[in-house]
């Protein structure tokens, strides 16, 4: 199932966000926790499931692979998708203003 601009899952959004800085598996989980201000603790199964899918959809790429460790980075396509979803979320927040006090 290739990415066709649907709303992203939370896991996908944060992995792309964390990969704005190239990173590898274990540290990526820490980075996600960090960018989400500790809100998201991602399971390793979910992490690798999403990484496999994003790579197939060309939203991320492997920057280096020394056989022991793979370093992932976001692609141009990934950036564009992330930006589009960010705009969508921003619109949603805007539209939700009526909820504020």
């Amino acid at each position: 199932m290739s990415y066709s601009g649907n709303p992203m899952t939370e896991a996908m959004y944060y992995i792309l966000l964390a990969l704005m800085n190239p990173n590898h598996g274990y540290q990526l989980m820490a980075a996600i926790e960090q960018v989400s201000n500790g809100r998201i603790k991602m399971g390793p199964g979910t992490l690798y499931g999403v990484l496999t899918r994003l790579q197939k959809d060309n939203l991320i790429e492997i920057l280096s692979d020394d056989g022991r460790r793979k370093t992932y980075a976001i692609t141009e396509e990934g950036r564009a998708a992330l930006k589009a979803d960010y705009e969508r979320l921003k619109d949603m927040i805007q539209d939700g203003r009526i909820l504020e006090g």
Binding site: A11, M42, G43, P44, G45, G49, T52
Partner: protein, 395 residues
């Protein structure tokens, strides 16, 4: 290392929640998952421990780095079966779940779902072709009962049933995965403590029925080959339910006419065969020649022959249909009159005469006999001795 204990894999690996729950219960009894085989699941005996298991579907084999990350997160890789990988963790540890996003998991299973659907389509086409062949073999056969008895009918039916069961399993697995995928995409988590007992019991019953059946389909042809036997008909007395040429022919000058091939006299041969529906089948030929005597039309030296086909059936109810099939097969000319003869020693008896070719078709209980006699003597004369022979067989 503890003792290895194995259990039959009675459930489908696709039933993720049920298997996780079963493995956890086994660990609670001190049986820790070690390996998943095709037929068996292997456990190592040890201390009872509260363990949680998670089954992950991984299309691509995980790299060492990936397994290391899982391990660092508290998840140990235990065993795999195809694309399914089993991980375990101590129940009491407060580690992150293996999967934290059901929708993402649903995406992964969509791919599996697609693959299973393609398999199902291909298998469905194969099943239609297979069943079509099976049905047409019997439906378009002029002598279906003869074919059933001579052929491997029971075995073929077993194969059909086993094939249908395999087909059903593929449909069942497809539906399980589709349902799981749908519920994950809707954000529902997998229930890791699903009840597995009923599914395992049912699986056990199915296995109990189909494994012996599958085994049977392998054994039957072997028995058939082992039991079928060809040998030369002895000249002396034999304990077979047949009429000998010497009992019909009056001339003392009757001699055997032989034709050896591979150490068996093809002209005077006993051919024994076995099948589940007819455990005793004989086809016995005998050829003779009377030197100094000519056929009635002076076409050559008088050389009578007799062929007896004898079947002892498992089910006597097939006797009538088999007799009719034999008539259909061996009465060649449409204008030959098939005469039904009332004889108290047979359930039914038919006689057909076509010049020197004279035939008797008869059955008694579960015995069916077909005699073809080429010769100048009267076929009626062999009815009483034939009746005697067949009555001797009945205990």
């Amino acid at each position: 290392m503890g003792k290895i204990v194995r259990r039959l894999m009675l459930d489908d690996i696709y039933a993720i929640g049920r298997n996780e729950s079963w493995f956890s219960d086994m660990a609670r009894k001190g049986l820790h998952l070690k390996k998943i085989g095709r037929l068996f699941v292997y456990f190592e005996k040890g201390e009872p421990k509260e363990t949680k298991y998670r089954i992950d579907y991984l299309k691509e084999a995980p790299s060492q780095e990936q397994l290391d990350v899982y391990y660092d997160c508290g998840w140990n890789f235990i065993a795999k079966n195809g694309y399914f990988y089993v991980f375990s963790a101590d129940e009491k540890s407060c580690i992150t779940e293996l999967h934290t996003d059901p929708v993402e998991r649903g995406f992964a299973l969509s791919e599996l779902n697609q693959r299973l659907r393609n398999n199902l389509i291909i298998l469905s086409i194969a099943m239609v072709v297979f069943l079509g062949i099976m049905i047409s073999v019997y439906y378009f056969n002029d002598e279906p009962f003869l074919f059933m008895i001579k052929g491997q009918f029971v075995q073929q039916m077993f194969i059909v049933i086993v094939e249908l069961y395999v087909f059903y399993s593929v449909i069942r697995n497809y539906r399980v995965v589709r349902k799981l995928k749908q519920s994950l995409l809707q954000g529902a988590e997998i229930d890791h403590n699903q009840d597995y007992r009923k599914a395992r019991l049912l699986g056990g019953i199915w296995a109990g029925v189909f494994l012996p059946m599958a085994l049977f389909t392998i054994i039957i042809p072997v028995v058939d080959i082992a039991r079928s036997n060809d040998y030369t008909l002895p000249e002396g007395n034999i304990n077979l339910p047949i009429i000998r040429l010497a009992e019909i022919e009056k001339s003392p000058n009757l001699r055997r006419e032989t034709g050896y091939h591979d150490n068996v006299d093809r002209e005077n041969r006993v051919s024994f065969d076995w099948s589940l529906l007819a455990p005793v089948q004989y086809e016995i030929d005998e050829h003779g020649v009377v030197n100094g005597e000519m056929w009635g039309d002076n076409s050559g030296v008088y050389s009578p022959s007799i062929t007896t086909r004898y079947y002892m059936l498992t089910f006597g109810s097939m006797a009538e249909n088999l007799t009719l099939d034999l008539i259909n097969r061996y009465v060649w000319r449409d204008n030959s009159e098939v005469k039904e003869v009332n004889h108290r020693s047979f359930d039914k008896l038919y006689m057909v005469e076509d010049g020197i070719r004279k035939q008797i078709f008869a059955y008694l209980d579960n015995q069916v006999v077909h005699v073809t006699y080429y010769g100048e003597e009267r076929i009626e004369d062999i009815i009483p001795p034939l009746a005697q022979k067949m009555n001797e067989v009945i205990p």
